[in-house]
């Protein structure tokens, strides 16, 4: 008897069942594939196909996950590296002696050129990954401290430049007013007027603009009071002479106070810079 089978290659073949019948004495265990009739060959093909269809994206997803995690770890390591490089640069820059405006500007420029933490749109999207998020945040904190340090240094540099131009003007005024054993009121008035004009020509940095204005006001007042005193001397007005003398003492005191306030401002910058320097140098 001839029957139709589908072999394992899916090919339909006709088999003479009489020829493959079990030898006598042995039970015939070969059952015709009643459960897998001719139509079951198509089912197997579908199953294989569907397995292949799921396997490909599965492998792709697995690969994507591996690549993704690898990428994130790489970004994390990059963030750590940038932070380390940034801190190292800050430490190196801190070794430069800050003697004047030029050296302060030089170091500020070095701080402005520090490496940038990994970020951008990609960085923001990947912040869900805790290790990268922590590394990026640490890097950004160090970068913010470095920026603050830069700003402080830049402010100090600008102030130093202004004071370097103011210093000789004051020195000249003091030297001129003290040229005689006793003050010559007319000369002193001229000295402080000259100083006030020269000082007004200076451009102060924003941080010192109010102090600049105060110095100018006091210098102008000194010129005025010296002139008043000279006039009182001429007309023998004792009351005006004494009042001008008292006022002069007050204006000199106010000039010294301006110096004290500037020193206080500088001390504040220094405290901030030292604190940031220590933070960025800490292991």
């Amino acid at each position: 008897m001839k029957q139709l089978f589908t072999n394992r290659h899916g090919t339909k073949v006709q088999v003479d069942t009489d020829l493959v019948a079990a030898p006598p004495g042995l039970p015939d265990t070969t059952e015709p594939r009643a459960a897998v009739p001719a139509a079951t060959g198509q089912g197997r093909t579908r199953r294989r196909l569907s397995r292949t269809i799921w396997l490909v994206p599965g492998v792709a997803v697995l690969l994507a996950v591996i690549v993704g995690i690898g990428g994130l770890e790489w970004k994390t390591a990059q963030a750590h590296q940038v932070q380390a490089a940034l801190r190292s640069d800050v430490q190196q820059a801190g070794k430069v002696p800050l003697k004047d405006q030029a050296s302060m500007n030089q170091v500020a420029a070095r701080l402005a050129a520090l490496p940038v933490c990994p970020g951008g749109r990609l960085g923001r999207y990947f912040t869900w990954y805790p290790r990268f998020s922590a590394a990026r945040q640490a890097c950004l904190t160090s970068a913010a401290q470095a920026t603050q340090l830069h700003d402080t240094l830049a402010e100090a540099a600008a102030a130093s430049g202004y004071l370097a131009r103011l210093q000789p003007l004051i020195a000249v005024a003091i030297s001129a007013q003290n040229s005689a054993v006793y003050a010559v009121p007319d000369d002193a008035a001229a000295v402080w007027l000259t100083f006030a004009d020269a000082q007004a020509a200076l451009t102060p940095p924003p941080a010192l603009s109010s102090i600049h204005q105060r110095i100018r006001t006091e210098a102008t007042a000194l010129a005025g009071e010296w002139a008043t005193l000279a006039h009182a001397d001429e007309v023998h007005d004792a009351a005006a002479f004494t009042a001008a003398e008292t006022a002069l003492a007050g204006h000199y005191q106010a000039l010294r106070a301006a110096a004290d306030d500037t020193a206080e401002l500088v001390a504040g910058w220094q405290a901030s810079a030292s604190r940031l320097g220590r933070l960025l140098s800490a292991p």
Partner: protein, 245 residues
């Protein structure tokens, strides 16, 4: 029982150690904070140290001062010397002659080598007066001020120019050892204490071998200076009287 004792011992030890470290640590921390606040950073040692660079830049402005101003001639006293009056008093049981003290002090105050060079004449008055010149028993010196005066030296407290009787009678070892006279000491001590009333503070020996300023504490030590009874030229000013150098 033993275990309880041991726990108690360790408990006490821990509390004592904690208290000790707190007591030691707190002042140290406070001192550290204080020194941080007061001391600027050091260039070349501390990183980012720029504050010292500003010191020199700010120095002229920080030290600017009014120059000396001479009193115009037209503001000076119109005629004759300015008169300062004083009253003479004795204080406590004195053995020295108060009248003799008064005559000597008047001569000293109006001596042309003394404070009269300021253009001032010192007149003794019976009551009132700009200041009181007192000869006081040593034991009663502290009546004038428990802290500003003592039984050993003379002093000035407010308007009281107080001469210690012991010093008046015997001078002071530092002065006597230099070989200077008792008369010179008496002139010095009257000028010195009156100088305080005129507004002078103490001066130091400028350098060994120099003549001492009258405002130097010559009763205590000459510090190598030469004993001197009279105010130096650069001591010729009197803030209390508004007289400038």
């Amino acid at each position: 029982m033993y275990s309880k004792k041991r726990h108690f011992f360790w408990g006490v030890a821990v509390v004592v150690l904690a208290a000790a470290s707190f007591a030691v640590g707190l002042p140290l921390a406070a001192r550290a904070l204080e020194s941080d606040a007061l001391q600027a950073c050091a260039s070349g040692r501390d990183s980012y140290c720029f504050a010292p660079a500003f010191s020199a830049q700010l120095a002229p402005l920080a030290t600017v001062a009014m120059p000396k101003l001479a009193t115009p001639n037209w503001m000076a006293a119109p005629s004759g010397p300015r008169v300062v009056t004083y009253r003479l008093e004795g204080h406590g049981d004195l053995t020295a002659d108060l009248g003799e003290f008064g005559q000597f002090a008047a001569a000293t105050l109006n001596d042309p080598r003394g404070w009269s060079r300021l253009g001032v004449r010192f007149d003794q008055v019976a009551s009132g007066g700009d200041f009181v010149l007192v000869l006081s028993a040593a034991s009663r010196m502290t009546d004038f001020s428990a802290t500003g005066c003592d039984t050993t030296y003379s002093c000035n407290v407010g308007n009281n120019v107080v001469i210690n009787e012991d010093r008046w009678k015997g001078g002071a070892p530092a002065w006597n050892d230099s070989g200077a006279s008792l008369e010179g000491y008496r002139q010095m001590v009257v000028n010195h204490e009156t100088g305080h009333w005129l507004g002078h503070g103490h001066r130091k020996c400028a350098s060994p071998g120099q003549v001492a300023a009258v405002m130097q504490q010559q009763s205590m030590s000459l510090s190598g200076c030469i004993a001197n009874s009279w105010p130096l030229t650069d001591e010729m000013y009197a803030p209390r009287l508004g007289i400038r150098s």
